[in-house]
Each structure stands twice: as structure tokens, then as C-alpha cells.
Symmetry: C2
């Protein structure tokens, strides 16, 4: 078997194909439908999910060019969910640019999103593969689960008590299944065995959970320069992350009272609230507890990869990707 | 070849399957995602598009039970478009019940709609057929065109001049392609030749256009009891239908001025406006012109059906369906 492709090579393939396909989409009529799609696809991003699909395909000896349309499909679908989520979450900025519902309007954002979801299927269905029906079924199941995750996320905002298992199930659906699904689609296109396809799926689920827990942690504890965005956003929004839920679980009466004080306070100095809540998290040793939970998932992910019976050289890019996502240097 | 199934038989099949599948969907978690889907699918309706798919499948000797999931897919997709259109059009009532965005809220309507669009694919992809990839591609192309039609429809509201060809293209996309696509999907599942599949597609396009023109006409000229809903709605909303566009084209200066007066008037008595505009349409002979245009498409539809080389007995249910849709007694 030949050497696997590098992450950078596959990323460039995705970027080039996206540029080729999405570059002129905005000229299609009706322009009010297609321009926002071009705008969205040109916002950038690391294109991780399509790269994951191609890497899994490559791992199992599949033909990467044959999987490229499926990879683009996953990226278009992911961007569709961001577009509609931004409407629902009233998030006006996406990657430092106005969100579609702000740049255009809400109707445009709804309909262009709908069109992107269909367009994702159109790219996927260009794929020539004996596994196409199975792959499209997996894609659909995954897409449905992402909707379920978004619904749970919105439900949690109005729910007074959310337990940690509920939270983990929510991030599994909202974040991890699309990562896992992308890997598994690539494996299926490479005609991997069902057992191997399931292993790389579980690799993706565990990696996705590890990543999300790490991301929640960084939102509170990161050095701002390294993290790339302002820390404390989740604390200000009372977002029910692993940290907050675990804090509510572990807090002694006095700490719980202090936490609830900040959760219910209407007028506050943002920096003061961040510092106060962060202090409670620190007192409860949550940085370590949370990091440990993330590490557990990360190791579980690597174990799944380990179990795939292929020479370890072929797995190197995937291990590197996992490290990069987790911002690990070791 | 055996006798074709009746419309009623196929309609009952669709209703039963929908009841079986959609009846308990609202119990799936998260309920805020799935309950609105059950609510939408239980609103009723004539289930015309799935019946059309099954009729085309039956016409070409395909197995009807094998096409049932595809039929359900088309119905779910159609109901998804109504759900999202109602948000965009600020339409608060659907089939005498509160629209989803009113009964629940707008976020629920956006996300449940997204889920329905994916669910449509899930049903379609259950289909076992050598034509499944082709059918799913056609379904996607059709779905995309329906989005384009909705965008044109919204664009027209803000456009000062819309010509009749633009209008016909809009209703082709918004209404006719899903009818035509349903027929063609049924034909493809029955493994009809491409030529025959294209004929039944054109049958559907022409029937869809004839139907929409007729519907526009009835909105103005129907006897209220027979039409089943209030007449004059399009006139009150200044909707750019074939009638209004043709009137603007044919009107003499004095009539044009009178028409523009009513189009721009802010305060008016509804019945007075309806009567005045209707009078202009009558003076311009638009009832006949519009009926003629609809008849032309209707006959073109029947000619396409005629061209399919099958014994005429097999085509009888389709001819009956066309007549029923057009509310014709002869």
C-alpha cells in the first residue's frame, strides 16, 4: 500500500474544489438564493470535516478523488447548520463577518439554508460508488442527529436542571456525530468492512466529545492570545457546559449560593462575573476534572484507531489530526 | 398487464402508510423537534403528489408497494416547503389550523422543517431499486427548483415590473416541477425508458401550469361555495398573478390608471377593491384569455400522455386525475 496523503494535501484538495464549485455559485439565478450560499461557503474555516472524510477514505485504501464530492457535501451541510443555527441563536457575527440573516435578511437565510441542505445531497449523489445508498443513508441519519442536537441545545436554555449525561448526549449529537459520520462515510466509500467503519466512527465520536469538552474548558481557562477569541463567553451567557453542570453538582451550599447569585444577577460587570465564576470553578478543581474527562475520550478515540488492523504508518495522519484538533503538542 | 389501480386505492395506501409512520413520530425525543413534524403531517390534505408518484409507477408496470417510501418522501418534502414558506410569507393559518411557527415558535418551525427535509431523504433512501441513485438525484434537483421558485415568488413582491414569462417560470418552479418530479420518480422506479419518463414529466409540468393558472382564475371568478375559500385574496394582496400581469399588459391608459390606483391605495374597502379590479379584468376579457391559456397547457399535458405507447386503458386513472385537479366535469 502506498503512503497516506498528508493533511495539508487533502485540505488543499478540498479548498481547491470548493473554490472551483462555490466560486461562481452566486451568479446563478435567482441570485437572492445563490449569493448567500457563495457568501457562506467563502467565509473560510479549516474544512476539517471534509478532510476527515478523505483521510478515512485514504486510510482504507480508497480513491481520494472519488470521495471528493462526498467531502464537499459534508462541508456544505456543516455550513448550512451554522447558517440556520445563527438565525435561531440570534448570533449576528460568524467568522468576523455578518451572519447571513444580518447581511441579507431572515427569509433569505432560511431559504438559502434549505437550498444548501439540498445542495449537499446533490454533491453527495454525484459520487460513483457501490456504497452510495449506504453512504447517503448514513449522511441522512447523521444530519437528523445534528438537528436533534441543536434542539436539545435550545431546550437546555429553558430547562432549570440539566444533568451531565444529557449534556454529553447533546454534544454527541450536535458536534461529534458529524465528525464521526464524516470518517465513516470515507471508510464506506473505500469499501472498508463494517467493523472497521464502526471503529473509525467511534474514533470520531470520542474525538468529538474530547474536542468539545476541551473547547468548553478553553473558553474559560485559555490564554486569550492562544485561544483566538475572547474567553468567558460561556460564563456570561450562563451556557450549561460540562463545567457549569459539574460545578452545580459538586458545589458546597455556600458555593452553590454564590454560583446561583451570578447565574441570576441581571446587572453585572462582565469581567467581575467571569472572574467570580472562574474562581468557583478553580476552587472546585474543575480545570483538572474537565481536562481528565476530555483526556479519557481522547484516549478512547486513539484506542479505537489502534484496533483497526492496518500498519501504524497509515494511521499517522489521523493521529496527527487528533493531536492538532486537541491543541496538543505531545 | 393487469388493470391499473384506482386513485382512491392509491390514496388510501398513502394515508395508511402516513398514519402508520407519522402517527407516533411526536413521541420521539427531543419532542420539540418531532411533535411539530407529527402536527404538520397530520394536518391532512389530498396527498396528491405521492398518489401521482404511485400512479406513474403503476402505469409503467412497476410494483406499487416498492414505491411507497418514495411517495411518502415526496409528501414529507412538500409539507416541509409549506412549513418554511409559511414562516417566510408570515402566513399564520394553514388548513384552518395555526401554522407551526404560530403554534410553537419560529425557531421550532425552522428546525423541524430542516428535519423534515432530511426525513424525506430518509424515506426515499429506504427504497430498494436499481434506480435509487437516479431517483434521489431527480428528487434533489426538483427540491432545489422548488426553492428557486419560492425565491422568485418572494422577489416578485418587491419588483415593480414582472413579465408573464417570468411569472410562468416562477409557477413552473414553485408548483409544476414537484408534480412532474413525482410522476417521473414513479416512472423511474418502474424502470420506464428515459423517453417515457420524460413524457410523464412534461405531462406533469403542463398539468401543473394549467392547474396554477386555473387556481389564480378561481381566486377571482369562482363561486365562493364551490371554490371552498374566499375569493379575491390575490387581488387584495396585489399578488402578481397571470391575471394582473396580463391586465397591466393589455390595459388602455385609462384602465391602467384605474388599476394602479387600486394597487397603490392604502385605505380601501376590501369588497370595493375586489369588485373594481374584477371589473377591469372582465372588461379586458381576462377570464377567457386566462382560461384559454390554462386549457392550452391542459391539452399539452394530455398530448404528452397520449404519446406514451401503452394501451389507453392503463392511462385512464391519470386522465381522471387530471380532470379532477382541473375541476372539470367533461
Amino acid at each position: 500500500m502506498k503512503q497516506p496523503h498528508s493533511i495539508e494535501y487533502l485540505q488543499q484538495l478540498v479548498i481547491d474544489r470548493l473554490k472551483e464549485k462555490a466560486g461562481k455559485i452566486g451568479q446563478t439565478r435567482p441570485v437572492n438564493l445563490y449569493q448567500p450560499i457563495e457568501y457562506t461557503l467563502n467565509m473560510g474555516g479549516k474544512r476539517l470535516r471534509p478532510v476527515m472524510l478523505l483521510m478515512a477514505c485514504d486510510l482504507f485504501g480508497g480513491k481520494v478523488p472519488q470521495a471528493l464530492n462526498a467531502a464537499i457535501a459534508v462541508e456544505i451541510f456543516h455550513n448550512f447548520t451554522l447558517l440556520h443555527d445563527d438565525i435561531m441563536d440570534h448570533a449576528d457575527i460568524r467568522r468576523n463577518q455578518p451572519a447571513v440573516h444580518k447581511k441579507y435578511n431572515e427569509n433569505v437565510a432560511i431559504l438559502s439554508g434549505d437550498a444548501m441542505s439540498i445542495m449537499a445531497y446533490q454533491f453527495l449523489l454525484k459520487t460513483e460508488s457501490p456504497a452510495i445508498q449506504k453512504v447517503t443513508q448514513l449522511f441522512s441519519k447523521t444530519a437528523m442527529e445534528v438537528c436533534e442536537g441543536q434542539q436539545y441545545d435550545m431546550d437546555f436554555e429553558n430547562q432549570t436542571s440539566v444533568n451531565i449525561d444529557d449534556y454529553l448526549e447533546m454534544i454527541r449529537l450536535k458536534t461529534a456525530v458529524l465528525i464521526a459520520g464524516s470518517f465513516k462515510m470515507g471508510a464506506q466509500l473505500a469499501l472498508a468492512t463494517d467493523a472497521d467503519a464502526d471503529r473509525i466512527y467511534r474514533f470520531g465520536i470520542n474525538l468529538g466529545l474530547a474536542f468539545q469538552l476541551q473547547d468548553d474548558l478553553l473558553d474559560v481557562f485559555a490564554e486569550q492570545e492562544k485561544f483566538g477569541k475572547k474567553t468567558g463567553g460561556d460564563i456570561l451567557a450562563n451556557k450549561k457546559t460540562f463545567l457549569l453542570l459539574k460545578a452545580l453538582e459538586l458545589a458546597k451550599p455556600e458555593q452553590k449560593e454564590r454560583l446561583n447569585h451570578w447565574l441570576t444577577k441581571k446587572d453585572f460587570d462582565p469581567l467581575e462575573k467571569i472572574a467570580a465564576v472562574k474562581q468557583i470553578y478553580t476552587d472546585l478543581n474543575l480545570k483538572k476534572i474537565s481536562q481528565q474527562k476530555s483526556d479519557d475520550y481522547y484516549l478512547a478515540a486513539l484506542n479505537e484507531l489502534q484496533a483497526i488492523e492496518l500498519e501504524s504508518d497509515r494511521k499517522k495522519p489521523l493521529i496527527l489530526l487528533a493531536k492538532t484538533i486537541m491543541k496538543r503538542e505531545h
